[in-house]
């Protein structure tokens, strides 16, 4: 049975168990790496970005008309002999299917894999009604025998080892099994299940597509069990979510280009099957299949009309959002979803399985954007996860203390900066020497001690500015420096390095004094209203019209300011024009150096020190800046050495690393292991948040590799 944590304390306990499961960790790690390595080859020659926009537009176009598509489908399917039903909710769907089974004197049922049937807990219902139900997809059969839920939407038994499966099959067959031989284990399923198909009275499937213009179902499978389930028994029931309705065959063929590629790395699955109406069936007295199609609403029709959440219905259940999620890769699907797994699961659970099952898990997103990038239907998953969390908070009518304080403080810049300055005094006794706090005081829990923490600067950058500002004669560019909290209060040296680099380029830098936090932490805590307030404060402070660019050394600030503000303000907000001007002028450090200033290697002395690079999530995915930083490392006279998984999150995620330190620590460990596997002497990145995480972790493990912001790296070799 699925036991999704309902409170944070039991969730933390579950996470701890998952993190200490060595097999699970190894299996997920291998999967995580293999999936991402294989993916580019599978998409060779396919315009993924183009096709995903097309599919998304097609899906969005159909959502307002799902009920019309249903009517169209029904007419065609019933003309061909099927009977089409609507189920308002899970209970009704299960009852309709039970009634069909009873009416046809069914005893034995075989099932092909269906996430929709998992959603309604159909098996439990049918078994209570006295039917024998056998799952026939190998993975589903395994978890059915173990009485578990799936841990992945495509690979339901990915959490199990061959030995666990071998032991299970030994119990089932009463014969000892050679667990090393996976081929033989697979054949056990073949032999055991063959007679079951032949004896079954009814087959139940889901469907990937319901094509309105023809009334045909489309099913995408690999094992061949679904074909047997729809062929041998005399009754076939398909349980289909309303979101599977599409207008025509062309739409299906387009989605078919990406579904298998994204799901399993195949150009196409072994079987793609279209079924329309009551086909020939020798087991039926009429020689025609008794064919029923049940369309499940369960909140979908309301969701389709929701101005914020409707894109979640574009989902085609490829499972890729779990495959690329660094958190999923550490804890697995049983701890990262309820029935639906992965990023989309954190969203859909609220709508299909209620707030009690989503309240805790929805908080476990590190916002690395990997799922958004891989999603074949262009769902902005990280954004919708935060929106879902907001909906959870609103439904609960409670505001966590953390959110109350965060909103109160962030809206008031003077108070916020006062507190940061006090931080310097408070931490002084802890930082025995140097710039790191290695041992946290006892009132912090041990699990936070996976990294050393930086000390807050004695003099923040804003207080140094009056001594640093230089007037440039006939400047080529006038640039506002948006420091962000981390550079301003923790790493003012990053900004000073920037000023050194810009000296020879006739760039007039200004530091608008009233600038405050970019607002991302507020959005991460689902405090959208605070994020809006802060955005407006920054517009008033910076006055974008006065500058050619707004330059920032922080990838997270840059990505937030560039993309999020347009999402959090209402479409009719009077501020949209100013917000756009502001976001259009945002530029990250590396792009500014390479694309705007066009720096050359003549400006730097060559050292040939070996440098590894960490690509910040909000730079490589948030801003799609990938080549510039690597080019810059080489222009500055260093030797760039590639490390594994450069574009994988470092585990920081702002407050994520405080909320989920045990996961943050594991993601960081992997990152640093990968870097230490290279001959690099230095590790650079272009985000102060990543610097904090990576430097803290490297210090804690007493590693020899120095961690720097890329601006600092360049300042060391500039002539």
């Amino acid at each position: 049975m699925i036991k999704t944590a309902q409170d944070m304390k039991s969730y933390k306990k579950q996470l701890k168990e998952a993190l200490s499961d060595q097999f699970l960790r190894a299996a997920l790690d291998n999967f995580y790496t293999a999936y991402r390595e294989n993916r580019p080859a599978v998409y060779d020659g396919i315009d993924f970005e183009g096709i995903k926009k097309e599919i998304a537009a097609g899906k969005d176009g159909a959502l307002p008309y799902l009920e019309d598509l249903y009517e169209e489908f029904k007419v065609h399917a019933e003309t061909a002999g099927a009977k089409v039903h609507i189920a308002k909710n899970a209970q009704q769907a299960n009852e309709i299917i039970t009634a069909i089974a009873k009416e046809n004197h069914v005893e034995k049922i075989v099932k092909a894999k269906s996430m929709t049937a998992e959603e309604t807990f159909l098996n439990d219902h049918l078994e209570k009604e006295g039917f024998t139900v056998t799952e026939t997809d190998l993975g589903e059969w395994i978890i059915q025998l173990r009485k578990e839920g799936p841990s992945h939407m495509v690979l339901p038994a990915i959490h199990l080892s061959r030995h666990q499966v071998g032991d299970l099959f030994a119990d089932v067959t009463g014969k000892k099994q050679n667990s090393e031989d996976i081929d033989k284990l697979v054949k056990v399923a073949r032999q055991e299940l063959r007679p079951t198909y032949l004896a079954a009275d009814m087959g139940i499937t889901g469907a990937n597509f319901a094509i309105a213009e023809s009334g045909a179902l489309g099913l995408v499978t690999n094992e061949g069990n679904m074909r047997l389930v729809t062929t041998m028994p005399r009754v076939h029931v398909a349980l289909v979510g309303f979101d599977k309705l599409i207008p025509d065959l062309r739409t299906m063929l387009r989605i078919l280009k990406v579904l298998p590629r994204n799901a399993t790395g195949q150009a196409i699955t072994s079987y793609v099957t279209w079924i329309k109406g009551a086909v020939e069936c020798g087991a039926s007295p009429s020689n025609r299949k008794v064919m029923h199609i049940v369309f499940l609403d369960n909140g979908r029709l309301a969701l389709a009309k929701d101005p914020v959440f409707s894109p979640a219905l574009r989902c085609i259940r490829c499972g890729a959002c779990a495959n690329v999620c660094p958190v999923y890769s550490k804890v697995g699907g049983h701890k990262y979803g309820h029935v639906y797994i992965g990023a989309i699961g954190l969203i859909l659970t609220l709508f299909y399985h209620g707030i009690e099952n989503d309240r805790v898990i929805v908080q476990n997103c590190i916002n690395c954007q990997a799922c958004r990038e891989v999603c074949p239907v262009d769902i902005d998953l990280p954004h919708l996860i935060k929106k879902t969390y907001r909906a959870v908070l609103d439904q609960d009518g409670k505001t966590p203390a953390k959110n109350l304080i965060l909103s109160r403080v962030m809206k008031n810049r003077r108070l916020f900066h006062f507190i940061l300055r006090q931080g310097y005094l408070a931490q002084k006794p802890l930082a025995q020497k140097g710039s790191m706090i290695r041992h946290l005081p006892n009132f912090f829990e041990k699990r936070h001690g996976f990294r050393s923490l930086p000390v807050i600067a004695e003099t923040p950058f804003r207080d140094q500015w009056k001594h640093l500002r230089k007037q440039v004669v006939r400047p080529k560019y006038t640039v506002a420096l948006f420091a962000g909290c981390a550079v301003d209060f923790i790493y003012p040296e990053h900004a000073r390095a920037l000023l050194t680099l810009l000296e020879r380029h006739r760039v007039q830098v200004e530091f608008p004094k009233d600038q405050t936090c970019c607002g991302l932490p507020a959005l991460m805590a689902a405090e959208e209203e605070t994020a809006q307030e802060v955005a407006l404060q920054n517009i008033r402070a910076v006055q974008p019209e006065n500058y050619d660019y707004i330059l920032t050394l922080c990838a997270s600030c840059a990505s937030h300011l560039k993309h999020n503000n347009s999402k959090i303000f209402k479409k009719n907000s009077g501020w949209l024009g100013k917000l756009k001007e502001f976001s259009d002028k945002i530029i990250d450090f590396s792009s500014f150096m390479v694309k705007v200033l066009d720096v050359s290697s003549d400006e730097f002395k060559a050292t040939h020190k070996k440098v590894a690079y960490h690509a910040p999530c909000h730079l490589c995915r948030g801003l799609q800046v990938t080549t510039e930083p690597r080019k810059l490392i080489q222009l500055a006279g260093y030797t760039y050495v590639r490390s594994k998984d450069e574009d994988v999150c470092c585990g920081f995620g702002g407050s994520y690393s405080i909320d989920f330190p045990e996961i943050s620590a594991e993601i960081l460990k992997k990152k640093l292991d990968n870097v230490e596997d290279t001959p690099a002497e230095l590790l650079v990145t272009d985000c102060p948040g990543c610097v904090l995480q990576l430097r803290g972790g490297m210090d804690k493990r007493r590693g020899k590799i120095q961690v720097k912001h890329i601006a600092e790296l360049l300042a060391e070799t500039v002539f």
Binding site: P156, L198, N225, R288
Partner: protein, 177 residues
């Protein structure tokens, strides 16, 4: 077509006559120790020919409906409506239950695909496929690409789960006189 089909573990050969397909079927069945053959979509002359070939080697050519032999089909030989070169896919109208049983329950599935029926990609089949689906009559249409497979245990690819364990494609090259 050949290359793409082979990457998904199909075994592809070129032939010029149906007799070669029958000989291939009989040889393969015998080699694999099978005793039964099911065939669909053949003319009565072809059936007679295949039956004779089977008898020579003590193989049984199963009669219809195949449902009666559901537990015991070793080899099946079926025609194919289309091939799709881009993915090595076979397109089979499976509305007849015998075709479904032959393509699903056999241990080894052999198909005969005329070279002239190979299309470059699925889009170029859209009109033909849609014509079938848009008709008011029931239909069961299938794309088959390689043998049945799974990666459900430790993500290790295993061939032959529930469907045929081997897929053989015989591409018929027509005479170009």
């Amino acid at each position: 077509m050949k290359q793409r089909a082979e990457t998904v573990q199909a075994i592809v050969s070129k032939i010029t006559t149906m007799e070669q397909a029958f000989r291939y079927t009989v040889d393969l069945t015998q080699k694999q120790g099978g005793k039964t053959v099911a065939a669909s979509g053949l003319t009565s002359d072809e059936v007679r020919f295949l039956k004779k070939a089977c008898e020579t080697f003590q193989l049984e050519l199963l009669d219809f409906p195949l449902k009666l032999h559901a537990g015991g089909i070793h080899t099946s030989l079926t025609p194919v409506d289309w091939g799709i070169a881009e993915t090595g896919t076979l397109v089979i109208d499976s509305s007849s239950e015998d075709v479904r049983i032959a393509t699903m329950l056999a241990e080894t599935h052999i198909v005969v695909l005329p070279a002239s029926k190979i299309k470059p990609d699925s889009e170029s089949l859209e009109a033909e496929l849609n014509a079938v689906l848009m008709a008011d009559t029931p239909s069961y249409y299938a794309f088959i690409t390689g043998a049945s497979r799974t990666a459900d245990i430790e993500r290790v690819l295993a061939i032959g789960v529930h469907g045929p364990q081997e897929l053989h494609i015989l591409i018929v090259k027509e005479d170009r006189e």
